[in-house]
């Protein structure tokens, strides 16, 4: 039996149940998604975009699903107490794909800003969802999109209306919680209307030692003159598989900063697809990956310069230890007519052991003739001269290695505009390199890691 069949069967046998526990806006796209998934199947590694991650194998095991929407007993505050000191956030929790309504403190938000369960809003205020849902993340474009659209029943909606500035950082903690191996299909919709501004921090945690398979499809609309800062921090565990597709569309004069930080995981595949569809739009993408053991992190990005006078920067850094595998494929596409594009793409990697492997593939595709674009990639080892210099000064070898690795990713962390978050991440990354992340005292048992 192929990996696809169990998911097709799952859907076909549970159509009514899935629909009954979801919303019309989401249900409306399922049949189309099924057709797309049947056509596409899971991508083989012959497909350029999926060259570095074996998708079919990851989806082959039989995971449980929670189609009936049982609530797993969890007190998010027990699971996750390590907030970001000195960063006052509006805190929300997602347990698997469910918005943890009771747990959230309902922080005071500016008028008409909505942060809620996607399914609930889709029923109560369909006009906020219908217009956007499934328009960027088309099922026919990608198998993960198709599978997620077919099965996802809920998720998160963040809506900031025209001209509204949300000063406080919105922090969403995604907690994976189960009593068996579980598949989670989560959907995220973020809409910043014209002139809106928001800073959003996602933290991924897994609470139990069970295996998790997560698909997450996010659609992010950044309207004219709107500004978004989006930070994603993954701190799950080695039995977690994450397939996350994010589609961002930026209109005229919009700007977005997208930071993706993978500190602890099992298998991670992030696809980030940014369209600069309006003139003078800007995107800054940063990525930081720290992996060891047999962890696998694959970041696949596309920056699509559709309009003229846009700017993009991309900087991803990986530190790989043990037998970790890293992959980065970043494609920058400058379309015909996207004149005066300025784009810079860098991927730098440190393989700290001989068995760690890194695949790096920066790509630049230009169809306009008046642009300034650059791309580059490096894979290196720890600098022996620096290491010896430090040891000669009395710094023990292990400590010196740690300082060098830490220094390497420091450049990415320094890009974080929120001071408190930057400090916190410096601390977490250092802990990670010291192998102490699992001992984080702020969290409840098993919250951060069961390594």
């Amino acid at each position: 039996m192929s990996s696809e069949k169990q998911y097709i069967d799952l859907y076909c046998e549970n159509r009514e149940l899935i629909d009954a526990h979801s919303a019309p806006a989401m249900n409306a796209l399922r049949e189309d998604a099924l057709a797309a998934f049947q056509t596409l199947g899971f991508p083989s590694r012959k497909m350029e975009r999926y060259k570095y991650t074996d998708v079919a194998t990851a989806f082959a095991p039989d995971y449980g699903v929670n189609l009936k929407r049982f609530g797993f007993p969890v007190n998010p505050y027990d699971a996750f107490r390590c907030g970001v000191p000195n960063l006052s956030t509006s805190l929300y929790f997602m347990v698997n794909d469910q918005f943890a309504d009771k747990a959230s403190t309902r922080p005071h938000l500016p008028d008409r800003v909505v942060i809620d369960s996607l399914c609930k809003v889709a029923k109560e205020q369909p006009e906020l969802v219908n217009k956007y849902y499934g328009t960027l993340a088309r099922a026919r474009k990608d198998s993960i999109n198709a599978l997620n659209t077919m099965l996802a029943q809920d998720g998160l909606l963040i809506y900031v209306p025209k001209g509204v500035v949300v000063e406080r950082t919105i922090q969403v903690v995604n907690i994976l919680r189960a009593e068996m191996d579980l598949m989670v299909n989560r959907r995220v919709l973020i809409v910043l209307e014209e002139g809106a501004q928001a800073k959003i921090l996602f933290c991924d945690h897994s609470m139990d030692g069970h295996e998790f398979l997560t698909t997450q499809v996010s659609e992010v609309y950044v309207g004219e003159n709107a500004h978004l800062e989006l930070y994603e921090l993954e701190e799950t565990h080695t039995r977690n598989k994450r397939f996350a597709n994010m589609y961002v569309d930026e209109k005229r004069n919009a700007s977005a900063t997208i930071d993706s930080i993978t500190l602890n995981n099992g298998l991670t595949r992030n696809r980030t697809d940014v369209s600069l569809s309006g003139e003078y739009a800007e995107v800054n993408m940063y990525g930081c990956v720290v992996a060891d053991g047999e962890q696998h992190v694959d970041n696949n990005t596309l920056i699509d310069h559709q309009a003229a006078n846009c700017q993009s920067t991309e900087l991803y850094k990986y530190v790989l230890d043990d037998k970790a595998v890293g992959a980065f494929a970043g494609r920058v596409l400058v379309r015909e007519g996207a004149q005066k594009t300025v784009s810079q793409e860098t991927n730098a990697n440190l393989c700290a052991t001989k068995t760690a492997r890194m695949f790096s593939q920066p790509m630049l595709e230009i169809y306009a003739d008046d642009v300034k674009c650059s791309h580059g990639s490096t894979v290196g080892q720890i600098n022996d001269a620096a290491l010896f210099y430090m040891r000669q000064r009395g710094i023990p070898e292990e400590e010196a290695r740690l300082l060098l690795k830490f220094a390497f990713v420091g450049e990415v962390l320094d890009s974080i505009k929120l001071d408190a978050l930057r400090d916190r991440l410096h601390f977490l990354v250092e802990q990670r390199f010291r192998g102490e992340l699992g001992k984080c005292s702020g969290c409840g048992p098993n919250a951060c890691s069961t390594r």
Partner: protein, 250 residues
Amino acid sequence: MLEIRDLHASINGKEILKGVNLTVRDGEVHVLMGQNGAGKSTLSNVIVGHPAYEVTQGSITFNGKDLLAMKPEERAHEGIFLSFQQPVEIPGVSMVNFMRSALNAKRKYQGLEPMPAGEFLKLAREKRKIVELDNKLANRSVNEGFSGGEKKRNEIFQMAMLEPTLSILDETDSGLDVDALRIVAEGFNKLRTPQTSAIVITHYQRLLDYLKPDVVHVLINGQIVKTGGPGLASEIEKRGFDWIKEEAGL
């Protein structure tokens, strides 16, 4: 303090040191001279434990302890310091972090608590004055963007912070203008005590005018072939090395 006996060492299978004998006592400053490729830097690298060099024969003891059995960091903790010919740039590691890690590692080795941050910064400020190093450099990454002169002054600053008992200055005078040379040399002199010793590698008399060495050695083809007083250095400056080679029958 330092006893080197019949030291043979090689790099990539090529023997560079071919039986070096050297004794440095407390408070002495020794000068090591010799043509390029004679083995001066190899000797200093072997003393500090550079992993690229292999000791094939002989011994080095430091205050009675077997130095060759120690890791580079342990040798540093025991009080050995090398002022690098080419100080390494370490982007992303701040001078402050670097120095604090080094100092506290040594304190740990000595059974002391880490130095409180305030005390550390005060100490660093004082020591920086010795070599007239700009305080602004403290916030930069180690040696990154430092001028040649600043790098060398930074080496002596680190020496001042770590208070070694044996310092090795490997061409610390190279690339320095006369003012910078004076600052570095005077800084070094301020740090001297009757208990601290040094091995100075140089090609030039001008540094030695400041340092007033006790003993001068000439290293040729991996061996010390001549040892003399301070006058030997000025003689070499005038006459070169050929006469020493002839004398030694090389």
